[in-house]
Symmetry: C2
Subunit: 445 residues, 2 copies
């Protein structure tokens, strides 16, 4: 299926098979406006004027209650790590190398950690030199820094439809004009990409980069087919379009070997982003970027301006973990854990979802992208879902333009399989009620 | 003395007592330009076009060699911590609370850590609620976020003359128009601040905020006198000028109790920035901002866009340290350590510096601000100093406008006292040679 390509650029000549009911009109008003008078109104930077908390933030605070099955999160199941062993390792690290681990380091990041990062990337056929790596505060900082060095207000950035909410936030913070490009079950559609580039050119504009999550997409759960990868690279190369390849889940595939990264076939046209958040621990906030020389130099300078340097404490912890622990075996354990949860998710969806629902079938990673029956609005439904003790993320968060209301992201990485089943049972029941209401009264606003 | 106020705004009617030789013409050309062709030239954001590595960066790589006495750094002496005890503490933390410490957290930061941060600030008479605190990746991130939410290109920001290099970098990254305001041995001069506000208003502009380091200033080593603090707050309040109070060193005074923070007397007009970098460990990168409600909300949203969330691992480590270790006794130990190093610095300067040198006498913190004899350029002299195995930071780094070439920042926090003495002996000898050259051939360029 085309994944919410209803608002993204679709290939020419291809008609959009999904219809959207009236219910998808985006709600742009926050639920509540701050009551307090802000004496600094009028003094903020233009980029900060519209910075207001999303209305689903308050709901998620509620969703953290233990009686609620949260399929919203996106959190890795770090309790699967041997915490006592990791604790011992860190304790010894501080006792023996604390004077370095508790000190400032360079903005580029620890040199030996960067060597080990190159070893990790070799699993996806990326051949990089440690000098090409910049350590970042999670991948999110890499996204922020890429936006910072490339995006002037109004610049076009191409992203998938849907796209990762954190990337959209980073690009919006620099006032990008985000253009969505359609995906299907094989990931980004090359013809849609060509069309998006053509349209930008026709409008006298040139996109600054293409942002893509090729493996086990967040939120769509799909993977860019091997046969499309060269095609996408070719299109971008001909257009002089930089590719930002964001790959948090690449090592968490459930079948066969990790796929070959885009960066493996284009060292000058691709900026690769990686992270240890899902393969070790999100709480250390260690990610990285691999970039062509000139971009890398700017990333380092931008990182220095943003945070001076990353935490040595976190970096040396990851380095020590990679040096002394069976990290690849641990990744295999994570894969099995998440495969079991994926299976529980797909099985429960098949058994319980009412007619009119469709969903993707991920072969790795954390996410299923669920399309609700026509006329059902995932955002409007969320409070009722939470009342029924199940949470998800409405699809609107994954579009820059307010579309996606018929979709929901389900994340299966954190709850145990039986809890996933129970959550989907509750969700199915909520959807059924919504469908009944729709049939009785017409689509809700 | 007025501290390099030669280019800063000085009080009306006050003439600048220092003369600058020809030698201070700022060198704006980097020593080397990148040789490689950058295919992305023309695609960077405007803010990134001039982002090039500073020419002293390469020198500092050399300055890290052990035979060189580095008075450049700014690094705390973290080896004074009981590393085995801290290591044990962290090991136990991960073993018992790893599922939280290795997981994502909220963008505002850990709630219990924010409570403990309020306890720390109470030492400086700041009464804040944990809800008002945002945890940041060191103070540097707080500076970046403040710039991000307040500065449009060309906006005026007032800073001291000289000012902290990291703040200048953060403001420059958002294309601020930085205006320096003169200081003397009692810190920021109120009349100079009034004059700077007046001049901005006369030019039809309004400064977005005043950035100030009131205690043990980096790089100047001076402290804002108690008698001036209300005056500064009054001036800012009348002008509607937000104050950003950056206070990394406030608890590291050598005499008496910590001074009362500016934030203690104005909760709505002051954003207070703190950090554990100097009171615990720089390598955990845990700082914080306390801000009025509306600003705090924007800081949280901006932090989320920049890094998603801070490291739970670092935050819970600091929290555990504050909960279980004698942290205030450790700060007292740090004070004594740095006092001894300050004494070694001032004693060596008095004994060895040639005529024509002047310097500040810090009562806390890490820095002495040294004025070289007329016609001696600290930046031009640096390669010769490093050849003589001593390093410092040239004053130009602490000005947005290229001035400050007659000054050097000496940091005494890291080397042992005898090494400090040896470093200053070497530096004195280098300066004497420069003076001799100046006398024989005139000021160098």
């Amino acid at each position: 299926m085309i994944l919410g390509g209803d608002r993204g650029v679709v290939p020419p000549g291809q008609t959009e098979p999904m219809t959207l009911g009236e219910a998808v009109t985006p709600e742009t008003q926050p639920i509540s406006q701050p009551q307090r008078i802000d004496r600094y109104v009028g003094q903020y930077a233009e980029r900060a004027v519209d910075m207001v908390a999303s209305e689903i933030r308050a709901l998620f605070a509620v969703a953290a209650r233990p009686e609620i099955v949260s399929l919203a999160g996106g959190s890795p199941y770090v309790a699967a790590l041997p915490l006592d062993v990791v604790g011992d390792m860190i304790g010894q690290l501080i006792a023996s190398q604390g004077a370095t681990a508790l000190q400032y380091c360079t903005a580029q990041g620890d040199a030996r950690l960067r060597e080990r990062i190159c070893d990790v990337m070799a699993l996806e056929q990326v051949r990089a030199h440690p000098d090409e790596v910049v350590v970042t505060v999670g991948s999110q900082q890499a996204l922020d820094l890429m936006a910072r060095i490339f995006i002037d207000p109004g610049d076009v950035v191409l992203v998938e439809a849907p796209s990762y909410v954190g990337a959209l936030g980073a690009f919006a913070a620099y006032q990008a004009d985000v253009v969505h490009v359609a995906m299907d079950d094989d990931g980004l559609i090359p013809e849609a990409l060509e069309e998006a580039i053509r349209r930008a050119a026709a409008a006298g504009r040139r996109a600054k980069f293409l942002y893509t999550v090729p493996n086990f997409h967040n939120p769509a759960g799909v993977t860019l087919a091997a046969g499309r990868r060269h095609r996408i690279l070719d299109i971008c190369r001909r257009a002089g379009l930089l590719v930002v390849e964001d790959n948090p889940y690449g090592l968490l595939g459930f079948d066969g070997e990790p796929m070959r990264a885009l960066r493996a076939d284009d060292t000058e046209g691709v900026v690769y982003l990686g992270t240890f958040s899902k393969t070790f621990a999100a709480g250390v906030r260690v990610g990285w970027a691999v970039a062509p020389t000139a971009i890398r130099e700017k990333l380092i300078l931008a990182a220095e301006s943003a945070v001076l340097c990353h935490s040595s404490f976190s970096q040396l912890t990851v380095r020590e973990y990679l040096d002394t622990q069976p990290w690849y075996e641990q990744i295999k354990d994570f894969r099995e854990l998440y495969r079991e949860r994926r299976d529980a998710t797909l099985s429960a969806l098949s058994r319980m979802m009412p007619p009119g629902c469709r969903w993707t079938r991920p072969t790795g990673g954390f996410y299923v992208w669920l399309r609700l029956p026509d006329g059902i609005n995932a955002k409007a439904m969320l409070p009722r879902a939470i009342s029924s003790r199940v949470a998800y993320v409405p699809g609107t968060g994954f579009y820059a333009d307010g579309s996606g209301a018929q979709y929901a992201r389900l994340c299966y990485s954190f709850p145990a399989p039986d809890r996933i089943g129970e959550g989907i049972r509750r969700l199915a029941s909520v959807i059924e009620t919504e469908v009944q209401l729709r049939d009785d009264f017409g689509p809700a606003h």
